[in-house]
Amino acid sequence: MAAVLEASSAGKAKTGSMRRDRKRALYWSYFFLVLFVIFFLTPPVYMMITSLKSSAEIGAITNPWWVYAPTLENYWALLGSEQYLTFFKNSAIVSVVVVIITMLISIPAAFALARMKFWGSAALGMGVFLTYLIPETLLFIPLFKIFAWVQDTLGIEMMNHYWVLMVIYPTLTVPFCTWIMIGYFASIPKELDEAALIDGAGYLQMLLKIFIPVALPGIIAATIFAFTVSWADFLYPMAFTTSADQLVLPAGIVTILIRGDVYAWGQIMAACLLGALPPLLIYAFLMDYYIAGLTAGATKG
């Protein structure tokens, strides 16, 4: 689009002001883009700088924006720390399991809602969307009490176990993923349906053999979304898990690593960076799917 504009403005080069306008707009754009990139990237960059500092250097209050004696000791300490690795492991297990659960729930449900009319499907579609509007900050207190009651009466230990997160995280991921998938499924041409049905395929086969492969970008986007949300959630682990061996990364870093020992900030920043690494890596390699998923939610369906 911009290329078209450039071509058309190049054609109007006779009126030199047009090209000058374009150039001026471009320079100003770059200028502001650089400013905003600085604004957006300052914290991650600062995280990295601080994580390379030893405690002594932080304590000496030298230039906080530059490392004089870079050291990887914070990273080694973390990677060698059983506790931190436990956080990582817990986060990984929870996130992967939640993604699988989410996909198992969302895809069939989205298919049913997008393709098959049944009693209440319209209401359910709306309902799915509405639940996204009941925030976790409203639910965590009754859930707290419900889990405590279950533990008290049924003896199933729900508090302070990370597998509880696997049960409740889907409430955060399933509504939006279902919505994304409905959008993708709805845009698959109905001729494919008809062709399949004529060939004698059942609905299940249609789902597996046609819809999923065709909507794969949407599935990937939804998977990424579910993973990122599970990895990053903070309130539920804060409310429901307390022992160090049950914590996931966000809650673990904030509650355990922030201790009285004031100079551990180099390590805390390293812990944050390492903890942010999986979502960042996924983003780096699958950025287009990531963005497609976000925009699909709003523009499709």
Binding site: F147, A148, Q151, T242, I256, Y263
Partner: protein, 449 residues
């Protein structure tokens, strides 16, 4: 439970990897056999202090053949309070848990009586500190907890000798090295502190006394108000804040003192005052020796001037801010006898001495006969740095929010009522009368049941 041999633990002890000490091992298991015990201790702010306690517990576990699981829970972000709440709600969690300040009495219905242990300990070690008795004796006269060895602390001033000397306050003259306080200490009161604070601010090294909502701020403010004779809620539960002269005097004083302190003290948490003095910026905080311990490791130039001594004297006396941690056993625990046995073991005199040494004198034993350990003379430089830390002499130990009834006191404490009251008539711009009105309404809210 899998067994993890002791030797596989990596001891990272060098100063270069001192930051690694922050990433300790707060959950440890030992070899199993009969019975299992899950223990929640307070995560100590003095680097390395946890290890002493771990060893004591492990030795006990080996002897008694109990499978022990130890969790060190931090007080940062109120984590240890949250954990206790969650366990109380869920009726399950650690067998043996650490509570702070007013919490055990607030939960007395759920805690196992400890009269037998207190009895044994009193016989062996002398009388229990009255303030500790006040906080562990339940409505029915039974003790519901035993004061913890680790973490029970006072928060007297910890100041820079060199900076105070510069502004004309010779701390060593009042509280000489390894000797009892002199006559000059009679002049160490809130007014002399204010004068010194003004001069120190002019020198560019203001004092920093926290006014946030965490225990470091609430405790010293409670003792300050007590020294003016303030009573916000009396023992019967009546709200007396508007009729208490002590409250007004305390607030008037704070209006003056706040001007000499950095503005951000209102947002300080438990670590902020430590950071403030270790960085060299601050001239005084009110804290147990944890800041000193960390400074010794990371900024020795500052540490060698840090001296802990007594609270300033107020019109009604000298009060030391007390923060006890209390060990309790939940009634729903499945191994209460093992928990009690562990408690008794930790409180044996040699173990107590080991713990207090490991914490460089931070921990204050709650029995009269255990206040004479050598550690308080030996810690330094500067020599006698923590000699005046354990409360003695005319210093009375005071629990913030006393003498209010437990439920109200716990709310006042946890919500940081007193520091908020000060903030309202300083940073918040209210007059003292308006602040008292606000305070009375807040206190009514805490009467909720």
């Amino acid at each position: 439970m899998s067994s993890r041999p002791f030797t596989r633990r990596r001891f990272i002890a060098t100063t270069a990897a001192a930051s690694a000490a922050a990433v300790g091992f707060p959950y440890i298991r030992t070899s199993h056999a009969a019975g299992s015990l899950s223990v929640g201790f307070w995560d100590h702010w003095v680097p390395g202090a946890n290890d002493v306690l771990t060893k004591i517990c492990q030795d006990w576990a080996k002897k008694e053949k109990v499978d022990i699981k130890i969790d060190y829970i931090t007080s940062q972000g109120n984590k240890i309070v949250l954990t206790a709440q969650a366990e109380a709600q869920a009726r399950s969690g650690h067998d043996f848990m650490t509570f702070q300040a007013w919490d055990p009495l607030d939960k007395q219905g759920l805690l196992e009586p400890m009269d037998d242990i207190i009895g044994t300990l009193t016989k062996a070690n002398g009388a229990l500190e009255p303030a500790a008795q006040y906080l562990t004796k339940g409505k029915d006269g039974h003790f519901v907890g035993v004061p913890a060895v680790t973490g029970t602390q006072v928060k007297p001033p910890c100041a820079r000798l060199d900076l105070f000397k510069k502004v004309g306050v010779d701390i060593l003259e009042m509280y000489p090295t390894l000797k009892a306080p002199t006559k000059a200490a009679e002049n160490w009161n809130w007014d002399t502190l204010l004068t010194a604070a003004q001069k120190l601010k002019a020198e560019g090294h203001p004092i920093g006394l926290g006014l946030g909502q965490t225990t470091d701020s609430v405790d010293w403010v409670g003792a300050m108000f007590a020294s003016f004779g303030a009573e916000m809620v009396n023992a019967k539960g009546d709200i007396t804040i508007k009729h208490s002269d002590g409250v007004k005097q305390g607030l008037e004083y704070m209006q003056k003192l706040v001007k000499e302190m950095p503005q951000d003290v209102f947002a300080w948490d438990d670590a902020s005052n430590n950071k403030y003095i270790i960085s060299g910026q601050g001239s005084m905080i009110m804290n147990p020796p944890s800041a000193y311990a960390v400074a010794k490791r990371d900024n020795p130039k500052v540490a060698e001037h840090l001296y802990t001594f007594e609270m300033p004297k107020g019109p009604k006396g000298r009060f030391a801010p007390y923060l006890p941690f209390i060990w309790g056993v939940w009634k729903f625990s499945k191994n209460r006898s093992a928990a009690k046995s562990l408690l008794a073991t930790i409180w044996q005199k040699e173990n107590v001495e080991k713990l207090v040494n490991g914490s460089i004198g931070y921990d204050i034993p709650s029995f009269a006969g255990q206040r004479n350990f050598k550690v308080w003379e030996q810690v330094g430089p500067p020599q006698g740095a923590v000699f005046h830390y354990p409360p003695k002499g005319d210093q009375k130990v005071w629990m913030a929010c006393a003498p209010a009834p437990v439920a109200i006191a716990n709310q006042m404490y946890v919500q940081g009522f007193m520091t908020k009251l000060i903030a309202q008539c300083t940073q918040g711009g209210m007059t003292i009368a308006q602040a008292l009105d606000w305070g009375a309404k807040e206190l009514e809210g805490y009467q909720r049941s």
